[in-house]
Symmetry: none
Subunit: 192 residues, 2 copies
């Protein structure tokens, strides 16, 4: 039995991920922000792995690595993030993270990333052949999110015409299969 701590501010996504991981025989504890994570840490007796969303609203997942490793030195820490940034990946690794993944990551991805030996680059990559369409769609969602759902500004940031963004969004009102775990909420009431 693996004990895993999941820190994810999107409660819907957190619950979905928790359930999915449970089906893989993992005992999952969930926290939704930095302070809660620190509190939970004190209550745990054992921790084998931690999965941290890097973007926790006001908090930063990177800052949780140290406290976690301090309490559970052997714990494997996996960072998750919407934007895969190489600089962030390097920073996370320097701080002691075991691996670094970009969303959307399936439970399988997560478990593999935790189990893998990250110093050999073979494992993680080849099983991620994102189609161009999917990549675009996710980037659009992210950008839209970053602009509080403002289509005009998002389109501008993306370098495409507002009308085009409008049309694209309309073509795929519901999230694609891949997006299932990201949740289908396109509500503009986001925090960041």
């Amino acid at each position: 039995m693996t004990n895993l701590l999941l820190v994810e501010d999107d409660e819907l996504l957190a619950e979905q991920t928790r359930q999915a991981l449970s089906r893989h025989g993992v005992q999952v504890t969930v926290a939704h922000n930095g302070p809660a994570t620190l509190a939970v840490l004190q209550q745990l007796n054992q921790l084998d792995a931690a999965v941290l969303d890097q973007n926790l609203g006001p908090d930063n997942g990177l800052d949780l690595i140290a406290p976690i490793l301090e309490r559970f030195p052997g714990c494997r820490v996996l960072l998750l993030t919407g934007y895969g940034s190489i600089a962030a990946a390097v920073a996370a690794t320097h701080r002691g993270a075991h691996n670094y993944l970009t969303k959307p990551a399936t439970p399988r991805d997560i478990l593999e990333a935790l189990a893998a030996d990250p110093s050999s680059l073979a494992p993680a990559l080849p099983q991620t052949p994102p189609s161009l369409q999917r990549l675009e769609w996710e980037h659009i969602q992210r950008t839209l999110d970053a602009h509080d759902g403002n289509i005009s500004r998002a389109a501008d940031a993306l370098g495409i015409h507002r009308r085009t963004l409008q049309r694209r969004l309309k073509k795929r009102p519901s999230a694609s299969e891949y997006q299932r775990e990201k949740g289908q909420q396109t509500t503009p009431d986001n925090d960041n």
Copy 2:
């Protein structure tokens, strides 16, 4: 005076980079492949930094990290790669690399990356809202690279038609082209 070891299989690019770094007051030693690097290592008395191209033909820059650090434990190792992958960045860091950059990188980029503290990098991700076009282009290059330049397979992996990939590639200055001379010029397709 900083002593730097540059390992880059493209001899032209290596020379350009060497000259550029020299102008910044750096003493540069150059090697073009793995074995040569190992040989050079034995001849050096001091080494402050190493810049490794990850893709050294048959050799892999990652495998040079250990020998370098073994001989010069305090040496700062910077990995360079054409198409950066997060997995590779994590792997490099786990192996002791100080930082990881994607080409094209200017001498300034290199020096900054070597000087920076990569773990304290304020990692609020959305620093660079990439345009859709740029994102696509990078993904295409990455995929192409992962398939050894095989257009047919890359197109398949990307989920687009081979003819479409072909046409897209033709429309832009080839990456391998401008990499070769990226020494002082800015990238042609600088979208915001």
